[in-house]
Symmetry: C2
Amino acid sequence: MLKINFDSLYEIDSEHGLPVSIFADHADYLAPTLEKIEARGQGFYKVIDDESVIDEIETYAESVKGWYDDIVVCGVGGSALGPICLRDSFVGTFDKGKPKLHVLENIDPDFMSEAVETFNLERTLFLIISKSGGTPETVAQFMFFKDLTEKAGLELKSHFVFITDPSHDVSLLRSIGEDAGVKMFDIPSSVGGRFSVQTAVGYVPAALIGIDIKALNKGLKDMRDLFLSTNVDQNSPFQLACVQTGAYLKEKPMSIIMPYHTKLRQFGLWCVQLIAESTGKFREDGSNVGITPIPALGVTDQHSQVQLFAEGPNDKLIIFINVENSSTNPAIPVNINHKKTNFLTGKTFKDLLHAEQQATAGALTENDRPNITISIPELTPYYLGQLFMLFEGATAFWGEFFEINAFNQPGVERGKVLTRGILSDK
Amino acid sequence: MLKINFDSLYEIDSEHGLPVSIFADHADYLAPTLEKIEARGQGFYKVIDDESVIDEIETYAESVKGWYDDIVVCGVGGSALGPICLRDSFVGTFDKGKPKLHVLENIDPDFMSEAVETFNLERTLFLIISKSGGTPETVAQFMFFKDLTEKAGLELKSHFVFITDPSHDVSLLRSIGEDAGVKMFDIPSSVGGRFSVQTAVGYVPAALIGIDIKALNKGLKDMRDLFLSTNVDQNSPFQLACVQTGAYLKEKPMSIIMPYHTKLRQFGLWCVQLIAESTGKFREDGSNVGITPIPALGVTDQHSQVQLFAEGPNDKLIIFINVENSSTNPAIPVNINHKKTNFLTGKTFKDLLHAEQQATAGALTENDRPNITISIPELTPYYLGQLFMLFEGATAFWGEFFEINAFNQPGVERGKVLTRGILSDK
């Protein structure tokens, strides 16, 4: 299992740190809070038990193997961030293999025009992903590519898959899909967009590019079992939530998500949506709460954001994510004899990467900046599954601690209404 | 020139907004603050006057045209963010043309191993970018690729360019470059890394992939002239700094940089370094200050961060960046007859994009969330140059307002010392 090192919290000044007893002190909250979560939204942790979904997806992916050069997700928010995170975690940064997974999570005119020029429709599969089936950006993209596909004399059913709510009343894609014989996968009603990476939303794109979704699902389940444990020493999501809460109450409204691994950069953006949209809410008394999540990347951001983390206002909790092993580990050949290079003699890139993570954490601790380090043994679908559920569970706990609904997003509705108004007035 | 719309600040509740008179009220600070900036660090706005640099770079780029398939920047922080921003702003998202610009801003072992497998050394040019010449990550990468190049029997001078400080005492790359006959470009001593996009750091990679660096430089100069104006109504960087300061003093320590254009996403990350590293400082009295910059992207982040911006704590200034025109503007073909799609009839993707930006700004204003909108007529090197200097100038003003040195980064030194210690102990 992944491990979390909380030591720095206990070492720093108590104005900013937390006591060693923090988890024991809050153990009594664990079982009752789990009951509240169960009552409010258990979909996200129960959906992973339905393994027939995985079989169906793997069978489908196998059946279309070799048919497509490009898999194009049309989706935004929860329909995009999971697929991008899965791709970036397991497809090489410079990979030129096929099929290639693209995620169209925006609608700039030039971006859409370039997409048209890029994809050979005959060898392209569009995955239309929208829980409600009515996300304007996604529906606009769908109508756009539907038009092109029809004009090219191609059948919709060979070039589209819909991933959407199972109900006709909810999703306009349902009857279109049925009429055209398009393959459809469900996003269960009980699972919100930002928790949907563990449904067809994440699994279908992942399976199409060869990611082991069974292992991913196993990682989710193993962490879910810890999440449901009433033993505070076992429950990593509860521990993370306690620390985020403690830091928040000590005037640290920001959480930095800082993996030391290029392929996990997008995991930070997945976390941003999860945390921002789940925690940023009006409470019943009219007050506002919310953790502001901020993505960072080690070592890269040591040369960008770390100055602010170390010497700016002490208003952040820094969450490092460390990957212990890599599949390769090239040596640094020290072929320059100079005082600035000699310390690298006999070292590998992994040595340098890990030393920099430890040093950055150490320097922050010296400055009384609270930080924790999550470690996974290696970057695999299994451990990424654990990471997803760790943050999902922690977010669910956080919502109950602050008495808000972590599973809705009322604050984005007003913008949608105004958008319709502006377009209608034109 | 770019325009900034501040109206929402005047419309919202005065607890969170700012008065219409804000610029006039602070006009007396303008000239004296400019004098302080001139005394502290004028390099960043004077360096752009040396047009011989541009001629030299363009001549060099022309002379190697067609030689390389891949241009690989080895650099991090200020040596990476400018080149990435320039590439992403002007190279198509799905572009497969050559030469292709890659920026290696991290050192994970797997990432380095993949790089080796990806690049055909005979057709690759490595740009080693390090102001000090001693950035451990960049030097490690350099030694790694130097080793491979030599083992392949290739000459360093045909496959490397160094971009570094002109002094041998500062940069260990200087004497290596001279001995090997490597082409070198200067990063003037007076220009810090996060302001170096307007030196060879940005200009060499940009010129090699065909970006018009003369136009970029012209945009920088035109905004610089406004920055040096003592007329408060002309000085956009001063106006931006006043607003960031006013928001900061009203307990909004975070600035969101939210372009509504996929190709400007990386501009947000460039801003993050500029603002975080320049403003996050200890003051002389031991207190901490600093704006926490947060990147966002419209419309994408409407489905991720906007819930938090709208309903979470009112602790953010939101800075939208709007691009008025696009080179293409495809229509949205409304080929589904449904109440959720009819409002799109007769609309283009640009209409939808702009309506969503206006609606998001409007919804935030209704919730008393301070926001401003910067507009550029089109995304060109000229207007990107203006954007760079707008934020650089504002950051310089902000530093003087808070009596810190915006041009140093003492808080990252400790981590470097600890890194050396950890590696030496192994």
